[in-house]
Symmetry: C2
Subunit: 155 residues, 2 copies
DNA sequence: TATTGTTATACTCTATAACTATA
DNA sequence: TATAGTTATAGAGTATAACAATA
């Protein structure tokens, strides 16, 4: 009886977590659309922002996606002015993809949105509740990582 | 100084929350793929499971997607044996979409996966920490709902 | 011989617009 | 005249396979 009770509470909490996943996803999609981006294209910008100019091969590995797919994403980002393709200085097979000024501006905008969202979600939370939530979140994220790793190993 | 400190902690916590979003999304995509489903098609099954047999119009409204899109999703689900199209008893323009046995089996499987995931994420959590997390999650979800509603109103 | 990125082909999800059959 | 669902067309993300240029 004790176990059953816990199980149903855990299930209900997972439901709410999944609802939050959906809401966060919608919010992110909308914010990116306002900047003229999709999640996949933003992911490319994110990698370039952190790694600096990169070859398409590097991007393909970072996004865990086929090189062909990167060709398409970079095509789109070039067409909309977020990145440029340049010759690689030493390897003539490769191209270097770099962020433009427009992309830098968008990244700044995204940072602001991120801070605003953090403020919206946690800004009025009592400090004690906030840190309890953060602790639980760490726990849950760790379990999820382990679970995925196990699933990937067993396949 | 106090404010700045809080802001950076809030940002870091949002980062971890977004990481969890990504992990949960991957897990869900993989589970569904194992059943031969995509998230969109599973969403259709979910609605049919809760509402019973429905017209494509009803499905389009439920998923907030165009009728044309539903045609494609139902085509795929029919081809893979998850649903059937039948004549509507009274309105000859409409079709009724119903779950098959295979879909019922998959829904059962998904329920099991859901319970297992809840157990993985929360099963070894001390009761007090679990309920603190659940409380924080409620808070965060409420703020997110409000934020999205405001964003939609202001557009 | 191996690697980088492309063309060719195909599938899924999504949208708008025009059209058919029915209400 | 309005509604249900289709065909036609298009764009984005994804994949595999074959191929060119270069290492």
């Amino acid at each position: 009886m004790n176990v059953l009770h816990d199980t149903s509470k855990a299930s209900a909490t997972l439901d709410r977590l999944l609802e939050l996943v959906v809401l966060l996803g919608e919010d992110m999609t909308q914010s990116l659309a306002r900047e003229g981006l999709t999640t996949s294209r933003a992911h490319v910008l994110w990698v370039l922002h952190h790694e600096g100019p990169a070859t398409q091969r590097v991007l393909a590995d970072a996004l865990r996606v086929t090189p062909r797919n990167i060709t398409g994403l970079v095509d789109g980002l070039v067409a909309t002015g977020f990145v440029t393709r340049e010759r690689h200085p030493t390897d003539r097979r490769a191209t270097l993809v770099s962020l433009t000024e427009r992309a830098a501006a968008s990244m700044g905008q995204m940072h602001s949105s991120h801070r605003e969202l953090a403020e919206l979600l946690f800004g009025d939370m009592p400090a004690r509740r906030f840190s309890a939530f953060a602790t639980g979140l760490d726990h849950v994220t760790d379990r999820m990582r382990e679970g995925l790793r196990a699933a990937q190993a067993g396949r």
